[in-house]
């Protein structure tokens, strides 16, 4: 067990180094001169050019540049945005809570509907409920979520007028300084009446859109895991003992069926962050996904580089935690390793 832990953690190190290398190389391959992008001038004095090159470390050999870059990353220096002139890590820290809040709500939506749907489908295998759940799951799994978002805006916001079209808060009626960065919490802390409701209303559609694919994945996984567990001997024993079906399904089967489901939920982090790029773009949600797309169109490569580094780093860490949790809750691996 301990050896597995060390091995698993050690394996992430080369991945991190490779990630640094890829982002480093990628940004140097991008067409366009970084100095020109910064100054925006065509002909600047040679001394000024040399000075700028020195400031950016571009007069160093490439390997030295890479070491400086990697060293900077280890010290939390992810570069400085060309456009806003603020450190990338600072911009990221301001925007990330918005993405995190959206992703968590999407995940809650997916879990709250996905697990019961999967359980119901497994228990009523082959019936109408099963077919409906599987059809909805297939559709959700195949959904182009950017279109799904536009459809929901069209119907819920434009036609029915139920939910706001974009953003996180009704800024005309409410204003307060961010404390935690989570709108749901900040709106409550502000004490302004109606602010919390506005935050919730703004979250509904983006959460549904972002949660759709995880919902489908979780429902399918729960169903197949449940079906497997329901065929086990101990479930038959529990049934034979005369326990109520609800108790058998809810207590004996579900607890064991959830082990692989928990892993799948953890592995949705990548899906959620990739989906956040699209969802945030559609709903003008001020998070890191929308920021990443905007840094491309603004040719703000340090922001792109740092942003991808940070997002991927988060995914690697979460996957590591998921793996370790899986080992911790699954006795077969715990004792085997």
């Amino acid at each position: 067990m301990f050896r597995f832990l060390i091995r698993r953690v050690a394996l992430t190190v080369p991945t991190f180094v490779a990630l640094m290398f890829v982002t480093f190389v990628a940004v140097r391959l991008v067409p366009g001169d970084p100095i020109e992008a910064r100054t925006g001038e065509r002909g600047i004095a040679p001394e000024r050019l040399a000075q700028l090159r020195h400031e950016l470390g571009l007069d160093q050999p490439v390997w030295q540049q890479f070491l400086d870059y990697a060293g900077g990353l280890l010290h939390g220096d992810f570069g400085v945005s060309i456009v806003t002139k603020t450190p990338v890590i600072q911009e990221f820290a301001i925007l990330f809570p918005a993405t995190l809040e959206l992703s968590l709500c999407a995940l809650i939506f997916a879990v709250v509907f996905g697990i019961p749907a999967g359980v119901l489908a497994a228990v009523k295998r082959g019936g109408a409920v099963d077919h409906t759940v599987m059809t909805v799951a297939l559709t959700g799994y195949s959904m182009p979520i950017f279109w799904w978002g536009l459809l929901l805006i069209m119907f819920m916001s434009e036609y029915l007028g139920l939910t706001p079209v974009s953003g996180r808060m009704d800024l005309i009626n409410y204003y307060f300084e961010p404390v935690t960065g989570f709108m749901l919490i900040d709106s409550l802390l502000s004490g302004q009446e109606g602010a919390f409701g506005s935050a919730v209303a703004h979250l509904i559609l983006p959460s549904i859109v972002l949660g759709t694919i995880p919902l489908a994945v979780i429902a399918r996984m729960t169903r197949s895991s449940m079906l497997e567990v329901l065929g086990e001997d101990y479930v038959r024993t529990a049934r034979a003992k005369g326990l109520s079906p609800l108790r058998v399904v809810g207590l004996h089967a579900l607890r064991n069926a959830l082990i692989p489901v928990v892993t799948v939920i953890g592995l949705q982090t990548g899906t959620l962050l990739a989906g956040a790029v699209l969802t945030e773009t559609i709903f003008a949600w001020p998070g890191v996904g929308k920021w990443l797309i905007e840094s491309i169109s603004r040719r703000d490569y340090p922001a792109l580089q740092g942003g991808i580094m940070l997002i991927s780093g988060i995914v690697i860490l979460v996957n590591l935690i998921v793996d370790l949790t899986y080992v911790a809750i699954n006795p077969r691996i715990r004792h085997g390793g």
């Binding site: 991945t15 490779a18 297939l138 195949s142 182009p144 950017f146 536009l150 069209m154 699209l278």
Partner: protein, 307 residues
């Protein structure tokens, strides 16, 4: 009795013995596939879309990029439009139906190209890792770990940002993103096969390494690979459409479904059909391919069955 073909001594024995199992396994596959109504429906829809894509110039009523300036934002037939433009026209007067039909070409083209390239590379890298082990395996698998660590769309965005937005670069980006699943699959399957007796027998018989890799082992790894390849087409189509939607894929006036959606965003209120139809085309295509892929999986590889 002596005339009974079964009991008669085999004359052309080799031919007779080797052909029947081939036919019956294909037949067994088809009868298993046919039983799955969803898979059959998926196959029919995919065949229809492929037909439209192949014969787009003959099927489409108009050119996908011709602008009919006097018919801007004309609604589709069911909303009071005319038969000249059955699905209406977009903001600059292009026929939506024709654009959708030509769009099928692009989406299926992307899906198939990505699949062919990544399956080929996946086979080569996967077999190389399984056979050579050592440094080759470590390097290949660590690179794959890295690709998997970066969220798919984010990696695709990075690649397109470096290479510049275009259709070909979309294909490159999506191929890189989906490569690891094929490499991992082929490697795992090949390693499992390598310990089996027939491989040992072939080795003892003096079969060369390349022949062992591609002729002896590879055919036995194909079933899961075919299933993954089918499902991979739909993922590639979705990913490419997402890039198109973000303006990082096919560039205007290419009638790519994702890019059509991006153009349509401001007409949510005034011309909802421009928003609805391209997305519906993506969804129907992807659902059909996934249905077909699920059917392939159940028929080819019962072990992988989800339920």
């Amino acid at each position: 009795m002596a005339d009974d073909p079964i009991l008669a001594p085999p004359t052309g024995g080799i031919v007779i013995e080797s052909v029947p199992p081939e036919v019956s396994s294909l037949r067994a596959f088809w009868s298993a596939f046919r039983e799955n109504r969803g898979a059959l429906l998926g196959l029919i829809v995919v065949a229809f879309i492929a037909f439209l894509a192949l014969f787009a110039p003959f099927v489409a009523p108009h050119s996908p990029i011709e602008q009919f300036r006097q018919h801007v934002q004309q609604p589709p037939i069911w909303a009071g439009g005319s038969w000249a433009f059955p699905f209406g026209t977009d903001a600059v007067g292009r026929d939506v139906l024709s654009r959708l039909i030509y769009g099928a070409r692009i989406s299926l083209g992307i899906g198939l190209s990505v699949m062919v390239v990544s399956v080929t590379l996946g086979i080569v890298l996967g077999l190389a890792s399984a056979f050579l082990r050592g440094v080759v395996e470590s390097v290949v698998m660590r690179v794959m770990d890295l690709v998997v660590a970066i969220p798919s769309l984010v990696l695709a965005i990075l690649i397109v940002a470096v290479l510049g937005p275009s259709l070909v670069n979309t294909i490159i980006a999506v191929t890189v993103v989906y490569l690891p699943r094929y490499v991992r699959l082929v490697r795992a399957a090949a390693i499992a096969e390598l310990s089996k007796e027939y491989v040992v027998a072939a080795r003892v018989a003096g079969v060369g390494k390349l022949r062992l890799m591609f002729v002896t082992v590879l055919p036995n790894c194909l079933a899961p690979l075919i299933v993954q390849a089918a499902l991979g087409i739909s993922d590639a189509i979705l990913e490419a459409a997402a890039l198109g939607f973000l303006g990082l894929g096919a560039q205007p006036p290419t009638p790519e479904w994702g890019a059509m959606l991006a153009d349509s965003r401001e007409f949510i209120r005034s011309a909802p059909w421009i928003v609805t139809l391209p997305g519906l085309a993506i969804l129907v295509t992807v659902v059909a391919i996934n249905l077909m892929g699920d059917g392939l999986r159940d028929a080819l590889d019962p072990k992988l069955r989800r339920s």
